[in-house]
């Protein structure tokens, strides 16, 4: 914990061990706050989806909301990959909804009820795992469908013959960077947003500690900014989940419809 009257903006990202469970290959696996929030996200998602399972011809509000999300991802897959993308919709949909739920849960004001909120997607270990998963699926699908011909991905259409020594190298690097950019984008966006909010919050606390005049002078603009940034962070939570799903679908398109 930070010292009295001092806010450590990084403390919120610390994963707390709640209890030990078992050992695997010399590593200890524990139940953590991160695990707790992932389970909460999964359960909430499951409850949300149950509302869409009434399967009515004329849907109610909840069913429309669920079908809105499924339709959003299905149409994205259809637009980016085509009819063959339907097979991969469950994966991209799970990815999108899981990340979206974790992002929003991290922003939700649980602190008001004394619960310590935690943004799972602000951890490189988690975003990295999901990025490597997406990247592996792209590789497996690519080599499964096209065999060694998949390597022609590194030679885009219209490459002049005298650039054949350079373009594949650039394409290879950009291909190999994909999992890192995928993982870092989400992790950095989440971390930066939460740090920003903590910093503005600490301005208010430090200002008030310095006296009422400074407290009001600093606190009111900081609070106003916090309100704006909170809205912006909600937007970012949606956009980052969308970008992760969109890029996964685009990478899958490379593997499925090799030019």
């Amino acid at each position: 914990m930070a010292d009295q009257g001092k806010v450590d903006p990084m403390h919120q990202f610390e994963v707390q061990k709640m209890f030990d469970m078992f050992h695997v290959g010399g590593h200890e696996v524990a139940f953590t706050t991160s695990a707790l929030w992932m389970i909460v996200a999964g359960v909430l998602l499951w409850v949300f989806m149950i509302g869409g399972m009434k399967r009515q011809l004329v849907p109610g509000r909840w069913q429309v909301a669920v079908e809105g999300f499924t339709g959003f991802i299905s149409s994205m897959m259809n637009a980016n990959i085509g009819p063959e993308g339907r097979k991969y919709t469950p994966y991209v949909f799970s990815l999108f909804m899981f990340i979206l739920m974790l992002n929003i849960l991290g922003l939700a004001p649980f602190g008001l009820f004394g619960v310590h909120p935690f943004t799972v997607t602000s951890h490189f270990a988690i975003t990295g795992f999901l990025a490597i998963l997406s990247f592996s699926i792209v590789l497996i699908v690519g080599f499964w469908r096209h065999g060694l011909h998949f390597f022609s991905l590194f030679v885009p259409h219209g490459t002049p013959w005298w650039l054949l020594w350079l373009i594949p190298a650039i394409e290879l690097v950009s291909f190999m960077v994909r999992p890192f950019s995928l993982a870092l984008r989400l992790f950095v966006a989440m971390t930066a947003g939460h740090v920003l909010m903590k910093v503005f919050a600490s301005f208010i606390i430090d200002g008030l500690a310095a006296g009422p005049a400074i407290g009001l002078g600093v606190g009111i603009p900081s609070m106003a900014l916090m309100v704006g940034i909170s809205g912006l962070e909600l937007l970012v939570a949606g956009i980052q989940a969308y970008v992760f799903a969109l890029l996964t679908s685009l990478y899958l398109n490379d593997a499925i419809n090799l030019h």
Partner: protein, 165 residues
């Protein structure tokens, strides 16, 4: 930054990977593979139903249009037939009237001619009678005035000469 520094802790990476595998696995298999296809099937069924209903409505609309067209054509045809029947009847009536008129005309003309012939016959016989009466009267007058007996033929020729100039 705990996201990096915590990697040094023995339990961090293993716990994170274990739990994300578990929870994301649940999300993928239960929600993505289990629930999503059913929801998509519902949406597809609805889309298909809407499309089918729209097609049926379009077909019904076309059928109604065709029916209206045929009805209109039938109306036109029967109106034309009725007009033709009326015209024919008028025509026939006019021809009949003409024929009857012509017949009556002919009859009248015949009657007129007969009457004229009668009249002229009557006039000639009357003329002849006048001549003979006048001849008798003339011979009587001559006999009474002069005592000369005039022959009937002479009297007649004389009267004829006077009568006809």
């Amino acid at each position: 930054m705990p996201q990096i520094s915590q990697f040094a802790e023995n339990w961090y990476a293993a716990s994170q990977i274990f739990w994300v595998l578990l929870t994301f696995g649940f999300v993928f298999f239960v929600i993505g593979r289990g629930m999503l296809p059913k929801i998509e099937a519902t949406v597809d069924a609805r889309d298909r139903k809407v499309a089918d209903d729209l097609a049926a409505a379009k077909a019904a609309h076309a059928a109604a249009d065709a029916l209206e067209e045929s009805y209109r054509q039938q109306g036109d045809a029967s109106r034309a037939a009725a007009q033709k029947a009326v015209a024919d009847a008028k025509d026939k009536a006019a021809k009949d009237a003409e024929k009857r008129l012509a017949k009556v005309d002919a009859e009248l003309a015949e009657k007129l001619a007969a009457a004229e012939a009668d009249v002229s016959a009557a006039r000639t016989s009357a003329m002849a009678e006048i001549e003979s009466v006048a001849a008798e009267a003339a011979s009587d007058l001559v006999a009474r005035l002069s005592g000369v007996k005039v022959g009937a033929a002479d009297a007649r020729s004389a009267v004829k000469a006077v009568l006809h100039g």
